[in-house]
Symmetry: D2
Subunit: 287 residues, 4 copies
């Protein structure tokens, strides 16, 4: 994070496991004079899949060329799915929000404080309420109302705005509309959602009311990638807080806000730091 | 817990809320020269129910008479459900266990260490494996095999043994048989179970396998009163521990054992200390 | 918190324990037609001190008179230190801040969201940096530079501003100046500070550096009342987060910010809800 | 942990960082036909030290020769401190205990349950109390009384017994004697201690009393390697639990027992699984 640190490359790979993968990637980097800063591996023994996050400072100044060469090694010679990013990249992200604002402010303040290596390019909301707040952070605001009848049209507009701006990640900061399958398929980038329960418990609407009614002693929050199946995407992070009989639904909501903020922020940060691989509806998080 | 502390009475009450309940119970005790050690109240605003745990040292040496008089006040004059216990009571409990032994040993060792104000009167198991262990703690062991065909007969035998021994609480220390509705109705005392997930997530069989498959980032354990509905009884206590992609099912089981032990022990201790009231399938825990 | 809830009175009392205190306060309220909403007691067995928080809705509309009468009962007849507050009171608080801004924003946003029953009357800072932020929340900002030479004068000015505005609580949102004994004695209200370690470990300057150097596996934050002894006042709340060898000082700081925010906010909210009594350099928190 | 898993080698290395270390170790293993199961690295940027834990299944059946060859590579060619262990090794450990027995039983039961890859070779105690318990687990018991006058002699006897038995790790399961510098220097193996506070807070005697007096809201436990400086050795693991004003010293002790057990067990297990490197009075734990 030091401004004086040299720019590094970060590769995320996964694919069929076979002997020598660690040696091949590390050896290639070493052979080209690179200096490995971090190398984390995981193998899923059941599925025989190899996962790696490897970060290095190349000897060459032409980072894009190095990234390209590594991609070819990993993909063509090692048979891996691979992506390589520069540590100084600041991908554009879009924040979707409705009226509930704690996750929105929390994300913006962390971004302003330098915790989030990205550019928050725009805010999209189905309500006009957050316009002034968004603009006070210097982030353009798009009000796109959504009703049952025009949801398809609204989603097309959302996608158009994101594509136009070159958005590489959409984060739903308590956006209270369910995204359609078509949106997920066509938006062109990953979508991170925060759900206010410890999934798979209390999926769907009004999780705090559900939790209160069931009488649980812990409430939770779950950040996950959105998929076409509501609240069933790969889980990135979860946390819980104790509650007791003295806590009504409003108390659960208040306590839950703190969980939602920290879990959401952590998931977004991990994504931006290229720490997450997904496979078989689960995540590998190299933290 | 001090051996030199005077014996106190502990009343648990609940019933329709109305003004003056705190003043009436406290005033009655004060009027008879008693010294209140603790008084905790809760009101369920939705259901208009009043809950109280009140502990006091009566002036009179005849504690049973005082308990009886308080019971009549609470029941007849205040319209409450009420139970009164002596702090020096050591109710008999029965431990049900199968082959998995960590909760069993943990409970026995805590009992031996003085953490559990009870007498562990007997162990019942559907397997013979734990006989020597149980007897090494000085606890008689009953082996009652259970098969699909003779489950009804086995349960009758279990109930007969518990009733014969004067058991006031049954605790299921990872007992791997589902108790029938008939057992719950006829056993004559509460039953505490430990389930190895954060209910309501992963109810039923093989919760660690379920959790592994879903890719959750927290595993949990839940202690609850057993009811006729499997894994749906009032929750007493829950706890969780973080897991990640490096943890296989066996690791979840190992980490889960620690959760199960502490959650189970805490629930049993709270019950024995008369800290738990149940209402509307939820618990009020005065801890 | 419901706008439709009737206004209640909340009394905090403590003093020498004697039989009948619970009955006397509850009986007095009941006798005057009041409805007790909550009553929590604690007795310090070592010091023989009784502590109570009791909240009730009086029958009379003249709440100030009821508060006054209860005060006389508790003080004159029961020999207690006592304070009584109205649930609809919104005491004025002053926020002291330097340049580090996360606790400041967090507090302001919680206040705006309705979590903090107070009026944030003013911000005081030894730096000008937070002026625009403070004013964007509608809170007047006072820049009072502090140097070694003029610290006494600066503190007098701070006190004058707080007294002028009728401030009833000062909160130090990572204010990086040590308050003098004289300030604490003369400011006329309690002061809550957030320290970025689990006290008593790593008191004093640069706690994250200290923690890093010692190689602890948990970092913490502690909210406490400020006294004349730096970092030694009564502890209100503490929390920790796990760290490991991968975390440098900057990571500890980032993780610590989340702890500081939540611990600080909880302590301030508890104070504003009249949940805290202090005795013998410790706190009783009726949460 | 599977009995059918092939035996692997686990190397722990650390030394001056330089480019190519990951590639060199991985390349060497790959070049000899080995299959890397895990490889974790860390570099201490301040001190420029490289740390690695690497586990692999060699192609050759002669594991001891492979271990020897790897040791020479790491030591002689790469300039590293290195140790290599077989995954099927079961090092002998000695348990030191006094009269407090919860950590002792917990460790023994985990060992019996297969959680601890070691052979518990013997128990040493300054009291005779735990003899029957130790022997019930099949572990020989040595009673070596320790008094101020004969401490030196007692320690020599302890060391002689451990050396005679080939002990490779000493664990202090709440052993209530301070080991002398001479013991630490001469016992010939690492020593793991459990301290009942979150160090560096409340070092020394009676930490629960200290914590109670200070009024902390969290109590803790710390497992660390013992060094000549009491309670100042490298910290392996720490955990905490919340407490409040209702908890007396005895409650802190009861809650603390659960912390001590889990923290102690985790530290011992990590050591036995070759997950810990120490440097500059800190630990790197590859978990």
């Amino acid at each position: 994070m030091e401004s004086t640190a040299p720019v590094s490359l970060i590769a995320l790979l996964h694919g069929p496991d076979k002997p020598g993968l660690v040696a091949r990637t590390a050896g290639w980097i070493f052979g080209r004079g690179g200096n490995i800063l971090h190398a984390d591996q995981h193998r899923d023994a059941d599925a025989n899949i190899f996962f790696q996050r490897i970060e290095w400072v190349p000897a060459s100044d032409d980072l894009d060329k190095e990234a390209d060469m590594f991609t070819r090694l990993a993909r063509d010679e090692l048979g891996m799915d691979v992506s390589v990013a520069r540590s100084d990249a600041r991908p554009k992200i879009a924040v979707f929000v409705s009226k509930i604002e704690h996750c929105f402010h929390d994300l913006m303040l962390r971004w302003k404080a330098g915790e989030m290596p990205c550019e928050i390019a725009l805010t999209i909301s189905n309500h006009p309420d957050m316009q002034a707040a968004s603009e006070s952070y210097g982030v353009p605001f798009h009000h796109i109302p959504v009703s049952k009848e025009d949801k398809e049209k609204a989603e097309k507009e959302q996608i158009a705005i994101c594509r136009e701006a070159g958005v590489e990640l959409i984060v739903m900061a308590r956006y209270m509309q369910v995204l359609s399958d078509s949106f997920i398929e066509n938006c062109g980038c990953p979508v991170i959602n925060i759900h206010h329960s410890f999934l798979p418990a209390f999926a769907g609407a009004r999780p705090y009311e559900q939790a209160y009614k069931r009488g649980v002693k812990l409430i939770g929050a779950t950040a996950h990638y959105a998929t076409a199946h509501l609240d069933e995407g790969p889980i990135i992070q979860q946390d819980v807080a104790p509650v007791n009989h003295r806590h009504g639904v409003k108390d659960l909501m208040r306590k839950g806000r703190d969980l939602e903020k920290s879990v959401f922020a952590q998931a977004v940060r991990w994504h931006l730091e290229h720490r997450i691989l997904t496979f078989a509806n689960k995540t590998v998080v190299f933290d």
